[in-house]
Amino acid sequence: MYKYVIRRLLFALPVLLLSSLIVFGLMRVMPGDALVALMGESGNVGQRELAKLRKDLGLDRPYHEQYLIWVWQMVSLNPGDSIFTNEPIAVALKKSIPVTLELATLAMVLGLVIAIPIGVLSATRQDTPSDYVGRVVAVSGLSLPDFWLGTLVITFAAIWFHWIPPIGYVTFWESPWRNLQQFLLPAAVLGFRLSAATMRMTRSTLLEVLREDYVRTAWAKGLEGRIVVYKHALKNALIPVVTIVGGQMATLLAGAVVVETIFALPGMGRLTVEAILFRDYPVVQTNVMLVAATLVTLNLLVDLTYAWLDPRIRYG
């Protein structure tokens, strides 16, 4: 098991290295830079002055030098400062990571709480109205884009209930109630999409498992339906669901960009998009590497979960 984990971690290194090269290269290929964007609203900065600023920030150095400096900063866990705001990136991340983490966790929890029971219901009542409703909800979740759903939710909440989540983020520790009010709707919007894929996967794998011989045996033994479904069938049906949920993390992070913008939450998504738009190289590079590392870790955790779900799986 340990050997397996170490081997997987070693495999992650070239993945991260490649990611770093891609993101570094892409940022340099894009036209314009942070200084141009910063001066954007005014437009009366001379080329000489811009050149001086670029030199001060090390943007005039050869690319390989810039890359090596950045890699060293990442390795030494000191990603430097934002070109655009001058704020240390570590500080910006410290503020934005908890927001996205809270949003993603709540979305994941809401998504699973909705998806798994409905998926089970849909599978056990195949081709009944409740199955159709479940499937329509699932297809809707897959088809409706986050930006549309989010906008609709906030607009109609304002019109019908004269209420929207309070704007102006506060941390959970400052005001738990206000914080939850701010996160519930965006998490529901984000979780709805996640629940759709999970619901469909739960339904189809459970249907498959319910047709297995050992389940038939369980029915034949006269076991209660709840025990057969939840204890014998569902656990085995969950392996592909776990894979889907693990993979959905990337979708969740992508969706967070839109949802954070609509619900005015200062998370990683907004930080990254703004940094891309304003060519804030160090921020984009650090954030992308952080996401890459998170996904690599999550994939590893998903693989390790298989062994817990199915004791026949062994890692050598």
Partner: protein
């Protein structure tokens, strides 16, 4: 397995819905939902004439009340708070409240109307010019104190502070062009600042009234090396909190020199990038002020919030237009520029894209040369929609079969894309000009546009913050100016804009400005495009928040809020 148990089969038979039933039910559901959405849309589409709302809301006759919190959901978030480094509206939506300028335009409770441009003293009590308008002497208001926060701790403002600030602006940053006009400064006493200019400029005080010319604290620059973290000033509000992408909180300055003001205790600006969320925040009372672009949007809000107060705004200028590479073929030929201009139906853009509540487009604020906003007809022969004449002129210029060109732009607001596409269609239909459009992200667009080396066309802009006559003429049109983004290179314009700076008489200034504008229109030097007027919408308890002609209360016109109060 459960799906096959006898009980389940029986239940399924009872509840069975075949696919046809299911599709029928979903179909009716869909029709219902569509009707709901269409109904909602129709409600919004009933557009009243824009004139139903006043363009000026006079100051309240009631005695102002102290207290309360003013909140606004804002699209803008300041990238940095250093006024030397940015002229972003994100910063100046509040910098005019934390800091002062030497001179300013009137507040809404002082102004006779939206076009009142009389300069008032802000930190300066009075100002005079030498006969040749090269030396300007400003007498500062005495007893003005910096805010009681470190490192200033409430010390007196003196002339040396202003001198230091102007020198810093001239040395580096985005305001360098304006302040490099200063040859030198002296402070004969603690409260007198004498400014020597390189050349005469009767409009110099106007440049100091621009919202970006705020006086910052020398101690902060000396201690921090920049102004990115702290912003103590002399203004009515103290910057209490600035959390990027969350909020800006301003707290009443009890030591503000204008005794008794400001009236509102706290002003909170909530960073809200999404337009639908800003609207929802206004509807639910989380925001007290909102800007809406179209009459139909106002009507939609009135349905849920009938008590709102609406000011119909009327822009005095358009910041966007077609910028042509007029230093090279084919646009260096005035006949081509005129033909292109005549092939574009501006009124159609106003009527369709802006629902009739827009301006035809011009670059110099009309209030400097005439009393009423121009219509398309007032803009001269080359700005009328005359496709046949345009075709003839283009043929005369040697392009009877049209030509191919490019147009790049950044979508500052959704209507802009509609305008770009309308222009593309009309140039193809009327002149057989094939325009290849490239939509860029902001940084790419901005970098390419200001570099000024592009070919073809761009949907160009001139900075939105400035409204002063000098800025809008000399700074933006003189061939030697670094702000001349439209690449105007016309000796007549150079001569007229320079002469304007040496003309103290207001009537003569108006006449000269008229000549500059006529020349610009005749030569089609900047091909302005229609722009929205929009509406400022307030919660019913807001008082004295109306915007003047020059700037909206929610953006660069933020100093107006020093006189606003909440009637609750």
């Amino acid at each position: 397995m459960p799906a096959d148990t006898p009980r389940r089969i029986a239940v399924r038979k009872r509840k069975h819905v075949n696919r046809r039933d299911f599709l029928r039910r979903v179909g009716w559901g869909g029709v219902g939902a569509t009707a709901l959405v269409v109904g909602a849309g129709r409600a919004g589409a009933a557009t009243p004439p824009a004139s139903t709302y006043p363009d000026w809301i006079p100051a309240s006759p009631k005695p102002p009340k102290r207290g309360g919190v003013l909140t606004r959901a804002s699209a803008w978030d300041p990238p940095v708070i250093d006024p030397r480094l940015t002229q972003s509206v994100g910063l100046f939506q509040f910098a005019g409240l934390t800091s002062n300028r030497l001179v300013r335009h009137p507040f809404s409770d002082e102004a006779a109307g939206p076009s009142d441009l009389t300069l008032k003293g802000d930190l300066a009590e009075s100002w005079t010019a030498s006969p040749d308008h090269r030396v300007w002497t400003f007498k500062l208001r005495q007893g003005v104190k910096w805010q009681r926060v470190p490192p200033l701790n409430g010390r007196d403002l003196v002339a040396a502070d202003v001198k230091y600030c102007f020198e810093a602006y001239a040395r580096e940053g985005v305001q360098a062009f304006t302040f490099q006009e200063i040859e030198g400064m002296e402070t004969p006493d603690k409260y007198t600042l004498r400014v020597h200019l390189h050349t005469s400029n009767v409009l110099f005080p106007q440049n100091l009234a621009e919202p970006v010319a705020v006086i910052f604290a020398r101690e902060v620059l000396e201690e921090d090396g920049d102004l990115k973290k702290r912003m103590p000033g002399t203004g009515p509000y103290i910057l209490k909190e600035h959390t990027r992408k969350v909020r800006v909180v301003l707290q009443r300055n009890p030591d503000y020199f204008d005794k008794g003001r400001p009236y509102v205790d706290e002003y909170v600006i909530l960073s809200t990038p999404d337009a639908a969320t800003r609207l929802a925040a206004f509807r639910t009372g989380q925001s007290d002020i909102i800007w809406l672009a179209s009459p139909s949007e106002v009507e939609t809000v009135r349905k849920t919030n009938p008590a709102i107060v609406v000011q119909s705004y009327h822009n005095t200028l358009a910041p966007f237009g077609l910028a042509l590479a007029q230093d090279r073929p084919p646009f260096n030929d005035v006949r081509v520029r005129r033909a292109v201009s005549m092939a574009i139906d501006r009124q159609r853009q106003v009527d369709t894209v802006y629902e009739g509540h827009g301006i035809a487009g011009w670059g110099v604020p009309y209030i400097y040369y005439q009393d009423k906003a121009p219509t398309v007809k007032d803009l001269g022969p080359w700005w009328q929609y005359r496709p046949e004449e345009a075709k003839r002129l283009l043929a005369e210029a040697g392009h009877p079969r049209g030509f191919e060109t490019t147009l790049f732009y950044y979508e500052y607001f959704p209507q802009m894309t509609s305008q770009v596409q309308l222009v593309q269609q009309e140039l193809k239909k009327n002149l057989n000009i094939d325009v290849k459009i490239t939509k860029l992200d902001y940084t790419t667009y901005y970098g390419r546009y200001v570099e000024g080396k592009w070919d073809g066309m761009s949907w160009g802009f001139q900075s939105g913050h400035a409204v002063g006559l000098d800025e809008r003429t000399y700074h933006y049109m003189h061939s030697k100016s670094t702000k001349n983004f439209f690449r105007v290179n016309d000796p007549v314009i150079d001569e007229l804009t320079t002469k304007l700076r040496q003309t103290p008489d207001r009537a003569e200034q108006r006449a000269l400005t008229r000549k500059i504008v006529d020349r610009e229109f005749d030569q089609v030097l900047r091909m302005w495009m229609p722009y929205d007027n929009g509406f400022l919408v307030f919660q019913p308890h807001m008082r004295n928040v109306a915007a003047g002609a020059l700037r909206r209360t929610d953006g660069y016109g933020s100093p107006t809020l020093a006189r606003s109060w909440i009637d609750k």
